[in-house]
Every structure is written in structure tokens, then in C-alpha cells.
Symmetry: C3
Subunit: 138 residues, 3 copies
């Protein structure tokens, strides 16, 4: 069994934004030498997501509006913010969009449908954060 | 390490519907010869889900109503639809229900609780679509 | 390839509650002897979740209120409850919070960010339920 571990770092200037990290993950797959296996990509922070969807700016703005409706930023809404934080909303938005994705590796490549792209989703930006890529297989 | 890759195809006559694919995944597990490992099942489209829940028609109708409330179809609501699409809602519904499941294989079988069943969830049907089954283990 | 399977059991006195199971999963990783691999943790019931977030009581109460808003318990709302159940809401809450997490194992340990903790999320408690830990790697 082969394995590879990579850490991706982010410092997103907005509170909420999405970054296409597909090519970073593809680089890791290539470097791993794995032909058949699984690739895990996850946020290492609990106010961020990794998800797979379309690289289309209109959709990304739709997501931001929708998530703001489902879990508004307003710091006064969350008990969590009594700890001195103002990111209670980010812990909720991340649950909707998910922590991680697991992608098949087939013939040495991410086994993706036509429009699948991997995104880091930030909900409490303006600080340094990390995502993890872990590959296992043969 | 053994591995197996299978593609399942769908052409769902409704815009939104759920299909029990548990037996297809069980067939793949059997064929793989894997006794201990992991089985990934994911939608290969960004307007569809793979999820695990109950095979109960009332619940499935509940899910449809609930998802329609959380992300209504109405094409005028989504910037994404300015690209010429009418499936903005499907990209949102899929995020609620998830892209993929990972299931343990123990003793050559899906290691499932009593009521766990795997479903393909379609949110933009009436076209040909695919899901992926990837098994690794020994 | 090494593998290990563990079943965790719960009997939560409340209908909805969250239990930190991080140390149980860490014990399984240690016992497995896996240095590089993947660890799957999933609910074996379709009215429960396994998720990763903060071990902060205010946030957990925020989650409960938010999930109750997104999928209220009121048994009369759900067709599913015509089968004699009263847990239709739990099947919805679990979809928001997710069924499972997959965590990287690096150097023999869960490869976690500072605040990541694993929780069993119960939405239809007061009965005996199970979660599964499956580890594969080398």
C-alpha cells in the first residue's frame, strides 16, 4: 500500500468564499503514484468545508445567499458567541456544505464526472487555515 | 490490496426521485472479493446525491417536500440559471443530501445497521447520469 | 494491509443529544497498529449522525435549536410517521449533520486540526444504538 499526506494552506480575505483546489489535489494524486485507491480531502477547521460542485460564479453567489439565509451571521443569534467568538454561523454553514470529500482514484487519476470540481469553503476567513489531502492505494 | 470500480447508470423520468441501489453495491462487493475494506459510492454529477436512509415511500415524499422548501425549484431564484440552466435548485438540494457515502466492508459484506439502504438521489433527472462504486481492501 | 472494526454502543436518555467519541476512536486507532491509513466512523442507524465539530456546549445547544427549526419534531408533519413511528424529524436532522466522517491516520494518530472532535449525534434516543469504527491502512 502506498500513501501520501499533503497540507494545503489558505488565508482568505473574505469571511465567506470558495476556492477551487482541484489542481492541488490532482498534483498530490500524481505525486503519490497511486493507480487505484481513495483520496480524502478535508477541512482541518470546524468553520470550513471541502465540497464538490460546479466552478460557476453565479452558483457560488447563490450558495452564499442561501447559507446566509439558513444560518445568518448575526453574532447575537448564537450561544457559541458568548465564548467571545463571532463565528457561530460558520459552524452551522459548514455542516450544510460538509467537512470532507472522498474521491476514487482510477488509472492514476481522480475518477470524476464532467463537472466535478473540489472546493475549499471558508466561512470564517481572514486568518490562516488548512486542508488535508490523504491518499491511500496501490 | 484488491480494488474494483463499477459505474451505475440512471435515466430517471422525474426531475427529483430516489432509487435504492443497495443490491447493485452488494453485487460489486461480492465481485471484488474484498473481505475487509471500504466501499465508496458517489454521484458523478453535481445535481445528484448518494445517501443512506430508510426505504420507506412516505419518508421519501417527506424529503422531497422538505428539500423543495429549503431550495425551491423556481428558476428565477438562482443566478446560476442565467447561464441557461434551470437546475440551480438541484445544486442546493444535493448539498443537503450529500455527494457520497463510505461504507465499511466486514467479512465480505457491507457492514450495515438493520435499516441502512443506499440511494441514488436525483434532483435534475430526465437525462442519463452515473454513480461510481469504488472498493478497496483485502 | 491492516484493518480493525469496532462497534460503539449508546443509550442516550434524551431524544436529541451529542456525545464526544473522539477518545473511543483514538483507542481503536492505537489498537489497530495502523500508521498510515483511513478511519471511517459512521452511525449504524438512520436517525443518528457522526460529525466533527467543536466540543462547546453553547454550540451544541445552537445546533439543537437550529435543527429543530429546520426539521421540527411535530409528528403530524411527516408522512413517515403514518407507519406508526414518531421520528420523521430525526431522519431529516440526520441528513443535515451527516451519517459519517472519514479521518486520515498519519504517523499512527488521527490527523486532526486543533479543534476537531468526533461526535455521535442522536436524534431519536432513549433506545440502544450503535456506531461503527473501521480502520484500514498499514
Amino acid at each position: 500500500m502506498k500513501s501520501l499526506t499533503r497540507y494545503l494552506t489558505f488565508e482568505i480575505p473574505e469571511r465567506m468564499d470558495f476556492v477551487n483546489i482541484t489542481s492541488d489535489v490532482e498534483d498530490a494524486v500524481r505525486e503519490s503514484g497511486v493507480r487505484e485507491g481513495l483520496c480524502l480531502v478535508n477541512a482541518m477547521h470546524i468553520t470550513a468545508s471541502v465540497f464538490i460542485n460546479d466552478d460557476e460564479p453565479g452558483l457560488h453567489q447563490d450558495y452564499k445567499d442561501w447559507l446566509e439565509g439558513l444560518a445568518p451571521h448575526d453574532p447575537s443569534r448564537y450561544r457559541h458567541n458568548r465564548t467571545g467568538e463571532d463565528n457561530g454561523d460558520a459552524h452551522h454553514k459548514r455542516q450544510i456544505m460538509g467537512r470532507e470529500v472522498v474521491v476514487a482514484i482510477t488509472g492514476g487519476k481522480l475518477d470524476f464526472g464532467t463537472w466535478e470540481r473540489i472546493f475549499y469553503g471558508e466561512f470564517d476567513g481572514r486568518r490562516r487555515k488548512r486542508a488535508l489531502v490523504k491518499i491511500i492505494g496501490e
